[in-house]
Symmetry: C2
Subunit: 133 residues, 2 copies
DNA sequence: CATATATTTGTAATTACTACAATTTTGATT
DNA sequence: AATCAAAATTGTAGTAATTACAAATATATG
């Protein structure tokens, strides 16, 4: 059993071939891919793969805490296999998405009696180095 | 000329009847409405209003800096007339969206040589008081 | 092996949003 | 007031991401 299999199993996900391929894609490519991107790249090696499976699997991953739903692109949902706390930067010109380490998450969140926070998302936008030039 | 008219004019937007109605809706209702919500509420008093106009107008508002595109709801785009820096909380149960004042925005953003930030969005999720009980 | 359960697949439907062309309104000029 | 150009609005038709659902396939269990 390889480490991705273990990783899924530990999180209560049965490691089918499709799920393994999608999880490994997420872990290897830090580009915050869309469902369609994953589908298109995996299709040549898994000709029977269905787009529905990709969508189902990504939803399953988010529910089980092995992937992040990144809502930074107005057009499509993006997904991230990195689960350590971090923010996302998106270039307004080329659309690339870069991970941004976050120093102190807790101190930033206000303590309010009218709601109870358990997830936080920080999205920043601007121009990446290549596009700024 | 009322204050909303002035507000739009100052920001380079010609204050048509439709634009005024939409802007006033945004300023009066702090619910972060969807385009469809605005359309539905305004329709009875403006029977010829078109949904396209609502979409066009909201896009115009965002471009001219009198409205915020709030990307916190996976289903639809939401809009906010409050332009002072703040974060958004969304209840995962009832879906309500609450403004959250932000103490120190600048200090939180990392200084990196590989990109240049000019917009920042902070979305937090959890349960609101009513849903927590 | 047989049967139940879980997973995957493909198609059809949904729906937010946009493109676009026609119509209407506005505003300036005569 | 009439004319004309530019801007704004409207309605329809289209796009595209996502989901619903039922059939097919794979997997696990007795």
């Amino acid at each position: 059993m390889n480490s991705t299999q273990q990783y899924l199993t530990i999180h209560g996900i049965k490691p089918s071939v499709q799920r393994l391929a999608i999880m490994e894609y997420l872990l290897k490519h830090r580009t915050h891919p869309t469902a369609d991107e994953i589908y298109t790249v995996l299709l040549p090696d898994m000709p029977t793969l269905s787009k529905t499976t990709v969508y189902n699997t990504l939803k399953l991953f988010v529910q089980h805490g092995v992937a992040l739903y990144v809502d930074i692109d107005e057009r499509n949902a993006r997904f991230d296999g990195e689960m350590k706390t971090h923010a996302h930067f998106r270039c307004k010109k080329c659309g690339c998405i870069i991970d941004v380490p976050l120093p102190d998450m807790q101190s930033l969140l206000p303590d309010r009696p009218d709601f109870f926070i358990d997830e936080a998302y920080i999205n920043v936008k601007g121009l990446c180095k290549a596009c700024k030039l």
